[in-house]
Amino acid sequence: MQRTYEGSNGKTVVKLEDVELVFNSEIGTVTALAQVNLDIQEGEFICVMGPSGCGKSTLLNIISGFMQPTEGQALMDGKPIEGPDWHRGVVFQTPPLYPWLTIRDNVDFGLRMRNIPEKERKAITEEYLEIVGLKDFADRKPYELSGGMKQRASLAKVLVNEPSMILMDEPFGALDALTRDKMQALIRRIWMKNQSTVFFITHDVDEALSLATKVIVMSSRPGRIVKVLDTDFTYDMDGANSESARYSKQYMTMRESILNVINQKDELAV
C-alpha cells in the first residue's frame, strides 16, 4: 500500500508525543486521549475516524492549540503549539458564525483581520460565497440560515484564508449527498492546489477513503490511535473514473478493514 504521495514532501509539520488529555470535573476524570503519538507531514490529507466520543474532537483541539495536553507535547515545526493561529484554520463541529455579522462579513472576517487589501478581499470573499452556494444569502445573518448552509458558510470562512493547515471536524455532516460531493471536490482541489495539510474528522468511511492520503482510526476511552492506513483513492476520485475507483476490489477491502477496526472497538449496547 505504501507509495510516495505527490502531495507530501516528507517534512513533519505536526508532531504529537505521548499526548494525554484528562478532563477533570466534580464527578471524576475522563481520559479523552492516552499515549497518542502522531506525525503529520506536510501535504498529507489525514482522515480521522472512530466511534462517537473517542476523542477525535479533542485531538483536533490539541493540534489547533485550543487545548494543551495534560501530559506529553504537541509540536508544530518543532515548537510547542501555544495557541491557535491562522496557519491552522479550523472548521468546527458546530459552526461558530457571528450573529452580528452578515454571512458575507463572516466569510470576509479572516481577511479583514489580516488586513488584506479591500479589493482583493472582496474578490476572494465573493468567489468563496459563490463556491459554497451562498451568494444569494450573503447579506443575511447566520440565524436566517439552515443547518447545512451554516456549515458551508463556516467552511468558506476558513478557506478564504487559504491556511497551510486545515483542521475540520465533521464539516459535511449536515449536507445532502450532492452538496457533500461538491464540497469534497472543493476541499480536495484546494488541498492539491495549495499543497496544504489537512486533518479531517469524519464518520463516513467513503468520505475518508475518497479524500485521505492517510486514514487514522481511533478507539474509545481512553482515545488511542489503533490503526493508521495509507490510501490514494483521492487521486482517482478527482478524475473521471471516480465510480470505478469507488467500487474497485482494493477500495472494498480497505473499506471493510476500517469498518472492522471501528466496529470491534465499540461496546455500545442495543
Binding site: 495557541g83 491562522w86 479550523v90 457571528y98 450573529p99 472576517f109 491556511p163
Partner: protein, 283 residues
C-alpha cells in the same frame, strides 16, 4: 389571503420574543399590551384622584392631581426660583447625560478589559468593589474637596453611580462569551486586540445595553443627592428645595418630570438596543 394581512413568522417571533408561543395567523394589529399599559396608568391616576378627593390623606403629603397640575402650569409659565422649568430640566439632563456618557466611555472598555485580562481585573476590582456600595452622600464632601462646588463634582457623583453597573455587567458578559467565537477568530488570523474589538465587544453588546439601562436609572436616582450641593438649578434641586418648604405639589411636579424623562431616556436606549443589537437571543 390578502398579502397585507400576512405577517411572516420571523417578524412575529422577534416581536413576541419567545418563539414557543408561535405567531397566530392573520392576527389583528391591535396590541392588547398598549391598552394594558394605558390601563395601569389610568388606574393609578384615578386612584390618586379618589384618595385625595375623599380626603383620605393629608394634602401636604399627597397633593391632589389638580393641585399638582396647577403647580406645573405655574412653574411652566413662571419658572421656579429664577429659572425656567426648561432650564431646570436642561441642566439636570446635561449633568446626567454627560456623566452617563463619560461612564459609558470609561466603564465599557475597562469592564471588558477586566473580563478579558485577569491582571487588569485584579488591579481594578478592589477599587471598584470598594466604592460601589458606598452611598454618595457619604463621600460627596470628598468630591467637593477635590472638584469644587461647580458642576464637576455633581457630574463626578453621577458618573460614579453609573460606572459600577456597567463595569460589573461587562466583566460578567465577557465571561459568558462563547469560547468557540474567540477560538474561531484566532484561527482565521485575529490578534488579541482584534479578538477584543471584533468578537468580545459585539458578543457583550446585548448585556452591555441592559446594563446601560440600569446604569442610567441608577445615575438618575442619584440626581437629588448630586444637586444637594451648591445647585441653583436642576430638577433634583427643585424637588429638594420645594420639599424643604413643604411644597409637595411642586415636589410631585418634579417627581413626575423625573419619572417621565427617565422613561424617555430608557426608551432611547431600548431603541438603540433594538437597532444595533438585533441578534440578542439569536443563535
Amino acid at each position: 389571503m390578502k398579502k397585507a394581512d400576512t405577517l411572516t413568522s420571523a417578524a412575529l417571533v422577534s416581536e413576541q420574543r419567545i418563539a414557543g408561543t408561535a405567531p397566530k395567523k392573520r392576527r389583528k394589529r391591535i396590541q392588547p399590551e398598549k391598552m394594558i399599559t394605558v390601563g395601569t396608568v389610568a388606574t393609578i391616576l384615578v386612584l390618586w384622584y379618589v384618595v385625595t378627593a375623599l380626603g383620605l390623606v393629608n394634602p401636604i403629603l399627597l397633593p391632589s392631581p389638580l393641585a399638582v397640575w396647577a403647580a406645573f402650569t405655574q412653574i411652566l409659565f413662571n419658572g421656579y426660583k429664577g429659572y425656567s422649568l426648561l432650564q431646570h430640566i436642561g441642566t439636570s439632563l446635561w449633568r446626567l447625560l454627560s456623566a452617563f456618557g463619560l461612564a459609558v466611555v470609561v466603564a465599557i472598555p475597562l469592564g471588558l478589559l477586566s473580563g478579558f485580562n485577569s491582571k487588569i481585573k485584579a488591579a481594578l476590582d478592589p477599587i471598584i468593589n470598594f466604592y460601589r456600595p458606598l452611598p454618595p452622600l457619604a463621600y460627596y464632601t470628598l468630591l467637593v474637596m477635590a472638584l469644587g462646588i461647580a458642576d464637576a463634582s455633581k457630574v463626578a457623583l453621577l458618573f460614579l453611580a453609573a460606572f459600577a453597573p456597567i463595569y460589573v455587567s461587562c466583566v460578567s458578559a465577557v465571561s459568558k462569551v462563547n469560547k468557540d467565537f474567540i477560538n474561531s477568530a484566532k484561527t482565521v488570523g485575529a490578534n488579541k486586540r482584534q479578538v477584543f474589538f471584533h468578537v468580545i465587544l459585539p458578543s457583550c453588546l446585548p448585556d452591555i445595553m441592559t446594563s446601560l439601562r440600569t446604569a442610567l436609572s441608577v445615575a438618575y436616582t442619584t440626581l437629588v443627592s448630586a444637586e444637594m450641593v451648591a445647585a441653583m438649578t436642576g430638577i433634583g434641586w427643585l424637588v429638594l428645595d420645594a420639599s424643604n418648604y413643604m411644597r409637595s405639589d411642586i415636589v410631585f411636579v418634579g417627581i413626575i418630570i423625573m419619572g417621565i424623562t427617565g422613561i424617555l431616556l430608557d426608551r432611547i436606549i431600548v431603541i438603540i438596543q433594538n437597532k444595533f443589537v438585533p441578534w440578542a437571543g439569536k443563535y
